[in-house]
Symmetry: C2
Subunit: 453 residues, 2 copies
């Protein structure tokens, strides 16, 4: 970062410029962040800076500088021996979002390398690591060299964030959580993008969830987050595309770790729910395109669909499970996945059209069942959750199945059944749901794919 060693930098002008909405001079932000990492800028100066960013934002150029410093604060992967582009996908998180399990092997099958580092579930949204770890033996704590070898061998590898990646992001994230500076689109975008870009990518596709179960439920703010991340990607020379997808109901028909793996396997067999399949196909098509390995959108989509329906992506997933230490027999015999002792069917109390299914309520109920966390490091029960959820839009008769609760005991099952009954909205008006894939964002701007009804 070029700052002369031993020359003290004054952090106050940097804080003042952000406070006053002014552009920062060349090198100022980099020096500020470098000094912070060297403990020469105090935590109280950084928290004042963060609050100024929350309330005043950050100019595009300065935001990209922030991301640059965060990303280069730790290891940045390099992939020299691969025969294709490295492309990853990131989701802003939702309920029932098992997309990565299907997408990673499918994208690998389509010619891109997927070096995916994921997170754990916290709050009402699930985490890919927890889902993978419901496969007996599956290791997500590979060292970086093992990760690289996996990538070379299978074309996709899925691990947890290591402490070598973006340590500045971790420090800032910890400080934000105790200083009231969490809700900021530039800071959220910087946190996501610094970690993703550290994977050494040549392309990135973002799945920006919109609706009650999303991290940013509001469409406008979600699109702004998408746009901001696309700009950061472009500024770092990494072509980035975002799709806005529906999170006003769960994705697919299951919520809960092992139950979602089972549904992901269905999808990899060319079966499973239509919404999950459509989101997977849309995202992988974009990955192929940003990776430059597809001729055009139609050809890419065709190739991706074919790779899924042929079973080749499933084969690749089986190898990935095996090489990451998991029991590959799970792939063909999902009965080997952990399960819950109690199952309870929940039925419609009245007839009518299923207008809505609140994803936030279901996500929280799965946490209550023990399938998610309320604090870091908590043990979870991989087998619990909801299955057979009736898709919104379905016409129901009284007594039809709304879904099946999988729980550790009867009391927990009853509570989750009550939560499902509360989460259901039955009416006759045909209230609108969000379009499944509503917007596409690239450097050119936001494109409406399917307008909301």
């Amino acid at each position: 970062m070029g700052r002369e060693k031993g020359r003290a930098m004054n952090p106050i002008p940097v804080i003042e410029a952000v406070r006053d909405g002014e552009a920062l001079p060349e090198g100022a932000l980099e020096g500020f962040l470098e000094s912070y990492l060297a403990d020469e800028v105090e935590e109280y100066q950084m928290s004042a800076f963060l609050m100024a960013v929350v309330l005043r934002g950050l100019r595009r150029r300065d935001l990209s500088r922030l991301v640059h410093s965060m990303l280069h604060s730790g290891a940045v992967l390099e992939h020299e021996d691969l025969e294709g582009p490295t492309v990853d996908k990131h989701s802003t998180g939702g309920v029932g979002d098992k997309v990565s399990l299907v997408l990673a092997p499918l994208a690998a099958e389509c010619g891109v390398y997927v070096p995916m580092m994921s997170g754990r579930g916290l709050g009402h949204t699930g985490g890919t690591l927890d889902k993978l770890e419901s496969i007996p033996g599956f290791r997500t704590d590979l060292a970086l060299d093992e990760f690289q070898a996996m990538l070379q061998e299978v074309g996709a590898a899925m691990i947890g964030q290591t402490s070598e990646i973006a340590p500045l992001d971790r420090r800032l994230y910890a400080l934000r959580s105790v200083s009231g500076t969490v809700p900021s689109i530039p800071l959220i975008a910087a946190s996501i993008m610094s970690k993703k870009l550290a994977e050494g990518l040549e392309g990135l596709v973002l799945d920006v969830k919109v609706g009650a179960g999303a991290f940013l439920p509001d469409e406008e703010r979600a699109l702004e987050l998408g746009r901001t991340m696309v700009e950061i990607g472009a500024d770092h020379g990494v072509p980035t595309v975002a799709l806005a997808t529906a999170m006003d109901r769960p994705l697919g028909r299951t919520v809960g770790n092992a139950l979602e793996v089972r549904e992901g396997l269905d999808c990899l067999r060319g079966e499973g729910p239509a919404d999950l399949r459509e989101v997977v196909l849309s995202l992988v098509t974009e990955m192929v395109l940003v990776g430059g390995v597809g001729a055009d959108a139609d050809a890419a989509r065709h190739g991706v669909t074919d790779a899924l329906d042929s079973g080749r992506a499933l084969d690749r997933f089986r190898r990935m499970v095996e090489l990451q230490g998991g029991d590959p027999r799970v792939v063909d015999d999902p009965g080997r996945l952990p399960s819950a002792a109690v199952r309870l069917e929940v039925r419609a109390p009245e007839g009518g059209r299923l207008d809505g299914l609140d994803p936030l309520a279901l996500g929280r109920a799965v946490v209550e069942l023990g399938g998610g966390r309320t604090r870091l490091g908590q043990e979870i029960h991989p087998g619990v959750g909801y299955a057979d959820l009736t898709p919104p839009g379905t016409e129901l008769a009284a007594g039809d199945l709304l879904g099946t609760v999988h729980a550790a005991d009867e009391a927990a099952a009853e509570a989750a059944a009550a939560a499902l009954r509360d989460a259901v909205r039955i009416g006759h008006q045909g209230e609108g749901l969000r379009p499944l894939v509503s917007h596409r964002i690239d450097e050119g701007g936001v494109q409406v794919l399917h307008p909301a009804r």
Copy 2:
């Protein structure tokens, strides 16, 4: 403040509410501040709070709660044996502002008690303590009981801020200066008012300076500061009035500590410059009125003028000097004040009307002469500065006196002479100066006394 001991409070909701412009629940801010003083709220949480206040402001009720906590964090004076109301004046600071020297004994002569705690000069504005200390032997470091005794005896006492007053203000002030959170009208108002209200006042008059030499040069912001302080006073049951006075040129014809004492003594003798006399009479009239010892504005003004012209205020000043350890002979023989070795007359290079005299430039030049500070604790030379400054508005012929530099050596004198020549604006257009006393602010709002031309 009523918070149960040992019950941890969560500071984050307080920071978030201010960040989001929301009102704080009863007791929340008090708990936050109390926990900060107990080192249970971290500095990085307080600096995030302060930045949120800078950028979002604070609702009137919450600002008054902040001031309440700041003021009660230390000693609050009580004046039980006095025979009249305690009323003080505070100025936001200017160049050539020797008002307090005249005002304190004059107000005391008019029936109010003036328990004045002042500051030192820092930056381009002078400080009352430095001016008083140019009187040989004058002590401004009286203990609080000595201060009370002085007040009882003379009706006025002038000391420095003691460490017993508003310690929370000192901590916040120190943090603001290193976290980019200085420029905030609510925080500035809170800092001033917490210290003034700790004097145990029954009335307060504020002199809000407006123009290039003021702390807030812009009229609108200066009036907002005045209005905010008037509201805080009212919320604490202390009738408070603010006058906006001109600081687009120096007040009076001298700038520099001993030179200003000399000019203050002239004013106490019923002589001296008209602008200084007018500002003093206006402010003391308001003090008499807020203290409830004047029948009406006309009667009060008449009484104050009479007290000044009679020489009785001068007598009272003499007693104050004597009781605070100073040499009272200075009062009748200002030649005993410290003086500078070199005097240099500065003359008009051309004829014309003196349209302007930049107070900021002169204030800075006095600092350069050694008469002010660029950092806390610096020694100053009490004798240096400018005297005989020609009042703006005067018609000059080439060669007429612009002012006399008082300096420690020839080189410094030349530099200050050059600064004076640069600070002078000679034209023929009769550019407007600000009205000397332009606005009056009380609980009813802002009243324009003399519109700007």
